[in-house]
């Protein structure tokens, strides 16, 4: 009975970790690109450098972590185990890594073939991811708000990939170059809102009340937000595509919904019952403030004159990617990675019955020391502020890039420390007499 239900604790540790450990390396690549090419990269969102940079961040950093986390979260949230996690995880991960690198090289001038290969790799990798996760979510025996929300997020990703593949084939000389302008805008909108914002919202209403002991998110928001974003995006897409009147209305409504998500989250966080201020909370707060600001600036860009609109849209996009999504993802990593290390050590220890009461495992705060994660948070904040100033004063962009480099390096270092701690403790457990 109920064969779909599994309350097992987790897939093998290597499955999510390979995604988590790769992400900061793509961040380093993105920061390195900005440092190397300088302010020209952000002179226009159409520049090759800007496109390479945004895909290194959106695919290599954000989607990388989000995909890895879903492998971990589905069994807990939906009671479904993903089939063959080790094999499918490794496959999606390697295709995503190679595809993102090839795509970035295509934008940086590696030629049409790079785009063709990138489309193939990313189409296969993300297609496989969507198939595996979609299959698990359809089977989920208990369709809670979060399961429904995740289904919308996966549809958002599917839309983004579909548009991206079309655009990529165009770059590869195989498709429709004519429609590049509206398609690019729609690809961006679906990626940022239909995939990234939707998934983060769903995760937020699950983990914010849980980790910080806040009141729950309003029921109406949990029930309608993900579907609402999807419908508004559909309306926006048709309006852009068919040149409908009032095309800006759905875009303004999208900004309004995201601003509401940010404000409600900030309000809930201020009413939390746990007073211990951990670094994850700091990341969430910065992330939600950035989302609020990005929504306001994004809305302003819709109403501004064309020259001002381009700058405002760039600022809103940067704030969204680096201020909102990256901050939240970064904060989550500091909860997930130490906990998973501890959980897997605990399971390993449980198999050594004769010594399990003699060994004391490290707790989460000694697996990744709070002091180091605080230092990384400070770097993250400084880099974010300098980058935003850099939109106004481009000479600041190189120093900002240098700070991002240090920021991602320290994040990677902190995560690697967690893994090294895991290895050392495993040896300790295995050889303890």
């Amino acid at each position: 009975m109920n064969a779909g239900l599994s309350l097992e604790q987790a897939p093998p540790l290597s499955v999510p970790l390979r995604f988590f450990l790769s992400a900061p390396l793509f961040g380093l690549a993105a920061a390195g690109l900005l440092l190397w090419r300088g302010p020209d990269v952000l002179a226009s969102r159409w520049s090759a450098g800007a496109l390479a940079l945004s895909h290194l961040l959106a695919l290599g950093v954000l989607s990388m972590v989000m995909c890895g986390a879903l492998w971990q979260m589905l069994p807990v949230l939906a009671g479904v185990r993903v089939a063959q996690p080790r094999r499918t995880g490794a496959l999606c991960h390697s295709l995503l890594v190679l595809g993102t690198l090839t795509l970035a090289s295509g934008f940086l001038g590696a030629g049409q073939n790079a785009f063709r290969v990138a489309v193939l790799l990313l189409g296969l990798g993300l297609g496989a991811f969507l198939t595996v996760m979609g299959h698990a979510l359809i089977r989920a025996p208990h369709a809670q708000d979060s399961v429904r929300g995740m289904r919308w997020a996966l549809l958002g990703l599917a839309g983004t990939v579909g548009l991206g593949v079309t655009l990529g084939l165009g770059h590869g000389g195989l498709g429709l170059p004519l429609w590049r302008w509206p398609l690019t805008d729609l690809h961006l909108a679906w990626g940022l809102l239909g995939w990234i914002a939707t998934l983060i919202a769903v995760v937020a209403w699950q983990v914010v009340p849980m980790f910080q002991m806040t009141p729950p998110y309003p029921l109406r928001m949990r029930r309608w937000l993900a579907a609402g974003l999807f419908v508004l995006l559909g309306w926006h897409s048709l309006a852009v595509w068919r040149g409908w009147p009032l095309a800006r209305l759905p875009a303004l409504l999208l900004a309004l919904v995201l601003a509401a998500l940010a404000l409600i989250t900030l309000r809930l966080l201020s009413r939390r019952r746990r007073k211990v201020a951990d670094v994850s909370l700091a990341f969430w707060r910065v992330g939600m403030r950035a989302l609020l600001l990005a929504s306001v600036i994004g809305a302003a860009s819709l109403l501004a004159s064309p020259t001002a609109a381009a700058r405002l849209a760039l600022a809103a996009t940067l704030l969204f990617l680096l201020g909102f999504a990256l901050s939240v993802v970064n904060g989550m990593l500091y909860k997930i990675v130490p906990f998973l290390v501890w959980l897997h050590l605990q399971q390993r220890l449980a198999t050594r019955i004769e010594v399990r009461h003699s060994i004391v495992l490290p707790n989460m705060k000694s697996i990744v020391p709070e002091k180091r994660s605080r230092q990384q948070f400070a770097l993250h904040l400084a880099a974010l502020l300098l980058l935003l100033l850099g939109v106004l004063l481009p000479t600041l962009l190189r120093p900002a890039a240098a700070l991002w480099l240090a920021d991602f390096a320290l994040l990677e270092w902190n995560l690697v420390q967690g893994v090294l701690c895991y290895r050392a403790e495993c040896r300790h457990i295995d050889h303890y007499r």
């Binding site: 009975m1 109920n2 239900l5 599994s6 309350l7 097992e8 604790q9 807990v76 949230l77 009671g79 025996p141 208990h142 809670q144 699950q206 849980m210 980790f211 002991m213 019952r273 746990r274 007073k275 211990v276 951990d278 909860k335 130490p338 906990f339 501890w342 959980l343 605990q346 449980a350 004391v360 707790n363 989460m364 705060k365 000694s366």
Partner: protein, 142 residues
């Protein structure tokens, strides 16, 4: 009905945990110790209600003795071990250790509760619909 009672019990335990943790992070050892004792008692009661009342009933009716409840029982053991370590840290006035262990226990409990609240309790509710009232009274009186 069962679900609501057990979820409310989870929240009560959470509240006691937060009080102990908040006091410990303020360095208030006495308050932390009292609140943590309350948490230990509430948790002990909640875990044994599940293990001695709810799970046996569910296992008997559904025939799933080695399935979801076995995982839940194992996680209960993990929690008990963590609480013991926290008690030792508190008695030894190692408040930093207490907080580090607390963070770990907190996430362990929350992901456990999520599985119970979203999956196991609704399953119990289905399997035990006809005896829910009697069960609820046994749990209340426990």
């Amino acid at each position: 009905m069962l679900t609501n009672f057990l979820i409310a019990d989870h929240r009560d335990c959470d509240a006691l945990f937060a009080t102990a943790e908040n006091a410990a992070s303020d360095g208030d050892h006495a308050t932390a110790s009292t609140a943590f004792a309350g948490f230990e008692a509430a948790m002990a009661r909640h875990l044994s209600i599940e293990e001695n009342v709810l799970f046996p009933e569910f296992e008997a009716r559904s025939g799933m003795a080695g399935g979801p409840t076995a995982v839940m029982r194992m996680e209960h053991e993990q929690m008990r071990a963590m609480m013991l370590q926290m008690r030792r840290a508190l008695d030894g006035r190692e408040l930093d250790d207490f907080l580090g262990l607390g963070e770990t226990l907190h996430i362990l409990i929350q992901q456990h509760n999520m599985k119970e609240e979203q999956m196991l309790y609704p399953m119990c509710e289905n399997a035990l619909a006809d005896s829910a009232q009697a069960l609820l009274e046994r749990m209340r009186a426990y």
